[in-house]
């Protein structure tokens, strides 16, 4: 097994190879070298949390479109959703999901319905719409490899969906739990950042995939579709 020994403790005026410039910025001091070593070890071990935003590029589902005009309402809380968590001995972690919601639901509904549009109020939508979908994130959880003693970053997103009729009546309300994971071995030294981002993106894609295959099977939705089509 490899071990690294760092001997820090030489006096600040020692003959350590370095320029006067480095001395001026404190690199020749004990504290300076200690900070450098801690920073280097931090980079090498990938500790110290991460702050990631889910990329905003999503595919359009390849399914037979339902001949409906569907509206979607994304509330301000969803559009600004950020999950922050402090893990003991692993630093601060942040997953920003808000910016991804609009492109995600635009592509999802574009693929599933003949027409889609964003609406400002689900209970008084434009007259030409058959229904309005209202997604909301209820909960986000994640785990990192050091917690689970595995190679994986994992992200769970629990959505709650509501479906309103064209005249603003609530027709259905159902949960959807999406899951994504990413192998830390795919991301080398930047695994915290890239691994968590990949797991969050995978969870968003899973939400889209799950919604696509589940939507027509949700009992109240099934009844609504039977009446509409």
């Amino acid at each position: 097994m490899a071990s690294v020994t760092a001997m820090i403790g030489a006096p600040a005026n020692s003959t350590f190879a370095g320029s006067r410039e480095s001395s001026r910025y404190g690199l020749r001091s004990k504290a300076g070298r200690a900070a450098l070593l801690i920073a280097a070890v931090g980079v090498l071990t990938g500790c110290g949390g991460a702050s990631v935003a889910v990329p905003t590029s999503f595919p359009i589902p390849l399914v037979e479109k339902l001949p409906l005009k569907m509206g979607v309402y994304l509330n301000p809380e969803l559009l600004a959703y950020v999950h922050n968590e402090k893990l003991e001995s692993s630093g601060n972690w942040s997953i920003s999901l808000g910016d991804a919601q609009q492109p995600m639901f635009k592509n999802l509904l574009t693929g599933m319905f003949d027409q889609m549009e964003f609406v400002a109020d689900p209970q008084s939508p434009p007259a030409n719409l058959d229904g309005v979908l209202v997604p909301n994130i209820e909960e986000v959880q994640f785990s990192i490899p050091s917690q689970t003693r595995s190679d994986y970053y994992e992200v769970w997103i629990r959505y709650q969906f509501k479906l309103y009729s064209g005249d603003g009546q609530l027709l259905a309300d159902w949960p959807l739990t999406a899951y994504g994971k990413a192998n830390e071995r795919n991301y080398g030294m930047q695994s915290n950042q890239q691994g968590l981002q990949a797991a969050a993106l995978a969870a968003c894609r899973d939400a889209m995939a799950f919604f696509t295959i589940q939507f027509q099977g949700v009992p109240p939705v099934k009844d609504w579709l039977a009446a509409k089509l």
Binding site: A2, M7, P59, P61, T148, S150, Y179, K181, A209
Partner: protein
Amino acid sequence: MTRYLRLTLLPLAMAAIAGLGGCVTSTVQEIRESATGMDATDSIVVLGRRGRPRTGETELDFVSCVSRNMGSGSNRLNVIDEQTFTDALFPWFEPRTAPVNTSDLPELMAIPALTARLDELGLRYLIWVQGSTKRTESAGSLTCTITPGGAGCFGFLTWEKDSSYEASVWDVRNGISAGKVSSDATGTSYMPALIIPLPFIAPVRSSACSSLANQLKSFLIDET
């Protein structure tokens, strides 16, 4: 003169050392279940199996390595990039929805939009890659020290890696399994250090990748 020799010989010695590496032993096997063959317009895709929670999954760069090797060199094939394929056929090849066996193919092929997209892509064979590379043994120790007078390492490390991958070839047009190709590679790497550590790395995973890709090429092209 001494300085000249040092300047000339040092890069040569470093280049010679860099050219050396640990040894790799690789084995490739194939099981054929049906005849194969490809037209000039046919294409293939290599996909990694993405399991549900915490099951092992193939490294992304191994899948792209096999894909790249099959799409280059002699007998190169038309290879669709994994991400391009999964996006084009979304959501049918996501971890939640991807077919597990060839018996799942007829149900997928019953989706008209999906069949049309597959025809557009000219997809003939779908190759699922499973497996991984693991460090199986390691020994020795290496200590690096930083002092005010300089830095250096001393010691000797050795480790063994084992790659084991299996590719399942599905004939999408006929909805059947064409066969399986497996590639196993083992190699030992060394790292002696006398002030400067000198790694002699055995290219285990890249060896498994090129063996698998070459065997898959001949498996698909040879009509047997």
